[in-house]
């Protein structure tokens, strides 16, 4: 910005100023977020490490018997993935909120819902994807039957982005609050329940070699539903929080 004088919010003026197209803006945002995530590589590993630790608590606390673990493996992995996603959510808008980037994003002429979608997508890439990659390892530790791995992979691939999107609403609502850790959990956790139910039920069905496509279809429906509606809710919530 060269001009020192505030220019009128004239439409032609805005159109002249916005030389970036939407796709280049999205690409820039994606690259920026990924770079930031990569520069904080240690932080990047936190959700995965949490995932590992949380899962390994269950055999210690309940019963290390392989046959027993096999029965509850799907539930443990899914609950741990849910908790890990939720803890990672806090970073989604926090730093951008604190350094003012979020306000700048809201001021661009690009549709904010699309930008939000890009932000959630990058966030999922750096927090959700590592979970999906680690999950088979944990399945191995919990003696998950071979037939369940495919269902585990697909259900987590559909479920974690859904949770990121729904959770994004909670983050956007609480981003203005200083210590929002537990509050975010309170707000968001009940909304995760359907995803958890169908995720575990798909893996469970697969581990006893039952068809599991029904659950996956439902997970898919939830993903599409949240893909279309969550960005709107996140945008509204961010506007309220920035206010």
């Amino acid at each position: 910005m060269k001009s020192t004088r505030p220019m009128p919010a004239d439409k032609t003026y805005i159109q002249q100023r916005t030389t970036t197209t939407l796709s280049s803006a999205l690409w820039a945002l994606l690259k920026r977020d990924l770079t930031i995530a990569y520069r904080h590589f240690g932080e990047l590993m936190h959700p995965v490490i949490f995932f590992l630790i949380a899962v390994s608590l269950f055999p210690l606390a309940i019963n290390p018997d392989p046959m027993f673990l096999q029965k509850i493996a799907s539930g443990i992995i899914w609950v741990a993935a849910l908790l890990s996603t939720m803890l990672a959510l806090d970073n989604l808008f926090r730093s951008d909120y604190e350094d003012g980037t979020l306000e700048q994003l809201m001021l661009t002429s690009h549709p904010i819902t699309v930008l939000i979608l890009a932000k959630v997508a990058t966030h999922w890439l750096v927090t959700g994807l590592p979970l999906i990659i680690t999950a088979p390892l944990l399945g191995l530790m919990l003696n998950l039957p071979d037939s369940a791995y495919l269902a585990l992979f697909i259900s987590l691939s559909l479920g974690t982005p859904t949770m990121s999107l729904i959770g994004g609403i909670g983050v956007a609502l609480t981003v203005g609050i200083r210590r929002s850790g537990i509050l975010l959990t309170l707000v968001v956790m009940p909304l995760f329940i359907p995803v958890l139910i169908f995720g575990t039920s798909a893996v469970e069905a697969a581990s006893v070699q039952l068809p599991f496509s029904g659950q996956l279809y439902l997970l898919c429906a939830m993903l599409i539903f949240s893909l279309s509606l969550a960005p709107l809710a996140i945008a509204t919530s961010l506007r309220i929080s920035l206010n």
Partner: protein, 252 residues
């Protein structure tokens, strides 16, 4: 101030007047005590009829009588959530402050109804199912409803700026309203997937008229109780949120 304006011919103007905090306060002040009297009468009749006059159930004996608290409470728990979300939506869409205030005042009531339904349900479950708690679909979705209320209350109280708090909580109420049917059906499906047919509901015969009438009276009583308490809570909330306005200063 000028709420006494003559409004003839326009049928919706009465509705707009409720958007004025002062008008709503006066209205609640006037009708709250009357509603309280009706509530008391309905409760006394309903409880006496239900607990004394209505015949015992042929299967469950007298233990079924908790139905007169349990079913209205469970119904009110969901009804209150819908009212809360609709009020919050009104507040968000038309920027009516009253909508937010009604929503915020409803939330603790709804949570109380849900809690009441859960407690009476588990007390009823002991003699009929033999256990205080089963992971039955209805019980579980009622529990999740309680969590949704807790989330709403927590959020509404956590944000310091009153306006942002109202709006943020309103968004959450709407998101919860969209999610409620999804949660309900997924829980129902989960239950049937897991355990086939559960211990649920001893084939309940369609209810006898002698039991239905007191049940309906109890429904009315719970509704009036909700209205009475809502009016009181709204008045407190109004005085708190509008404390800087002239009419509140004149009031106190």
């Amino acid at each position: 101030m000028s709420s006494q304006k003559k409004t003839t011919g326009r049928s919706w103007t009465w509705f707009h007047r409720f958007g004025s905090p002062e008008y709503f306060y006066r209205f609640a002040e006037r009708w709250g005590p009357r509603s309280a009297v009706v509530t008391l009468l309905l409760f006394l009749t309903g409880l006496y009829w239900g607990l004394v006059i209505a015949p015992p159930d042929y299967q469950m004996g007298n233990s079924y009588r908790i139905i007169f608290i349990h079913v209205p409470a469970a119904w009110m728990s969901m009804f209150t959530y819908v009212i809360m979300a609709v009020a919050a939506g009104t507040g968000l869409i038309w920027r009516m402050k009253m909508g937010h205030i009604v929503a915020k005042a409803s939330a603790p009531l709804g949570a109380a109804f849900t809690f009441c339904a859960l407690v009476t349900g588990s007390l009823w479950g002991k003699p009929t199912w033999g256990t205080y708690w089963v992971w039955d679909a209805r019980l579980t979705s009622e529990l999740v409803l309680l969590f949704l209320y807790f989330g709403y209350i927590a959020l509404a109280n956590a944000i310091e700026d009153q306006k942002s708090a109202n709006q943020a909580a309103g968004v959450l109420a709407l998101v919860g309203l969209i999610n409620l049917p999804i949660i309900h059906y997924s829980v129902e499906w989960w239950n049937t997937l897991h355990q086939g047919s559960t211990v649920s509901k001893l084939g309940r015969p369609s209810i006898d008229t002698r039991m239905l009438i007191p049940l309906l009276i109890m429904f009315a009583a719970f509704n009036f109780y909700y209205v009475t308490t809502l009016f009181n809570r709204v008045r407190c909330e109004l005085v708190d949120q509008e404390r800087r306005t002239k009419w509140v200063k004149e009031l106190i």
